[in-house]
């Protein structure tokens, strides 16, 4: 990705940092200087301007790239509703919490509750695309109402917990209770998955819409979509029967 604003961590973080306010609201039209003044909430030292923690180069123009060891950063792009945010590395917890639009592309791993609903909230993501190229912690995409979460590696337990609608795509294996208590929405598993007992097996088929979705993931994000994923068969499970029963798990199968 060329252009855009590059935020490089000045010195390694020694305390957790909450970045939920940095990309809140409309940020893509701001200048680098304006964004530099937005607060990062440091665990111990409190509100600190972004520019003191990150060296900023370039202008946003709708794009921002974070560089450095970012594992102590929580809630990056929480509530994001515009722009493209790339993270070169791994993030802490609640990355892309309640994402509403735009794209958060994490090259490394994400901690727990990536793209989830804030704790205690019924509704999570309402739009946008969250790409975790590595592994994701527990409850990725929990409570999602709309949008897309992709986990390139392994997804922790309870991915897509209580989904209202939307898509969670897991390339690696999915942890326990994926899709549990979903009302609608899809968990697409390209790796191993054990559906909860309140999901009922329906059939093995080739869902056409997955060709669209996976083609896009390969094309737009360069994710490792293989011909076997595009042309292969999927086991469809309907659930969660404890809720509306209008959701599904689509599990790729070698047949």
């Amino acid at each position: 990705m060329s252009g855009g604003l590059v935020a490089r961590l000045r010195t390694p973080l020694r305390q957790r940092a909450d970045l939920s306010e940095v990309l809140a609201g409309s940020w893509t039209a701001l200048s680098a200087a304006e964004l530099a003044r937005r607060p990062v909430h440091l665990e111990r030292d409190g509100a600190t301007p972004l520019g003191e923690i990150f060296e900023l180069n370039g202008e946003p123009e709708g794009r921002m790239r974070f560089v450095g060891d970012l594992e102590l950063i929580d809630r990056l792009a929480a509530g994001l509703n515009e722009g493209e945010v790339t993270v070169e590395g791994s993030l802490g917890s609640e990355a892309g919490l309640a994402l509403a639009g735009g794209t958060l592309d994490i090259q490394g791993d994400a901690g727990p509750r990536a793209g989830a609903a804030p704790l205690g909230f019924k509704r999570g993501m309402t739009g946008g695309e969250l790409i975790v190229r590595g592994a994701a912690g527990a409850e990725a995409g929990a409570g999602m109402r709309r949008g897309l979460v992709v986990v390139g590696g392994r997804a922790g337990d309870r991915a897509g917990l209580g989904m209202i609608a939307g898509n969670v795509v897991v390339f690696g294996s999915a942890g326990a209770d994926a899709g549990l208590w979903s009302k609608r929405g899809s968990v697409v598993a390209l790796g191993a998955i054990t559906p909860p007992p309140t999901y009922s097996y329906a059939c093995t088929y080739q869902p056409v819409h997955l060709r669209l979705l996976l083609t896009r993931l390969g094309g737009r994000y360069g994710l490792p979509v293989r011909p076997r994923h595009l042309n292969g068969f999927y086991r469809r499970y309907s659930g969660d029967m404890a809720e509306l029963g209008k959701g599904e798990i689509l599990a790729w199968t070698a047949k």
Partner: protein, 298 residues
Amino acid sequence: MKIRGVFIEDTFAEAFTMRVARIVITARSNRWVRAAALKLTGFATSVIGCKVEAGIERALSARETPDGRPGTSILLMTMGKDDLAKRLVERIGQTVLTCPTTACFDGLPDATDRVGVGSALRFFGDGFQMSKVIAGVRYWRIPVMEGEFLVQEKFGTLKGVGGGNFLILARSPDAALGAAEAAADAMAAQPGTILPFPGGVVRSGSKVGSRRIKSMIASTNDAYCPTLRAVTKSALPDSVNSVLEIVVNGVDAPSIASSMRAGIHAACHDGVVAISAGNYGGKLGPHHFHLRQIMAGA
């Protein structure tokens, strides 16, 4: 003006603004793409009797379709936008939804005027349908006995042009047909256009209204019927014994002009006396395709 000895009359084709939609049908194999496309575009020659004019625009390779399967693009045209929405729902519902392995996508993603299609067809799912938003576009997955029918929620519509035409005036029926076939073949590959009539060719050119029945919108174009040369005010030179018309619709005027150019070029053969065009004196349609201008640009 003459092309390969064929006289190009100094006249123009008069065409109308129509609403156009482009739909893309994909399927497991070309067999089912073709099956759906032929049914979908059947009985869709003229809005006068068919409510919609439709034709296959071109075949699409697997690389060109949204789902990476073979497909085809089709244009459907009506006089108004609401009408177009109804026709799309009717035709896609009856001929694509029903056809094994197909899916149906909008081919005008940039058009801002959009009409609901999947949003109406979804009700066939009886509450079991599911919607998916992929890359900001909503699709409906409608469960069917074979699996799922995937159809886009909304289809774009543009202001297109319908009724581009030219007439092939020939010495013999064989010469007219040969020239028309050559023209239709040449025009089939033109992007953004369709030839809504059988094989792309019309033998029953019409004039506006009727001499005898007031309510009739159109009746035979007696001035171009060779058999009536003796009883009507004929427009045909003496040597002409058969006339065929090519009608072309398209997404815009330049596509039609370029299609007509290719068609006329191909039609100018031995046995063809002249190329003419149908118009209503320029009072009815906003688009005028002057044959000589078109051909001069070749």
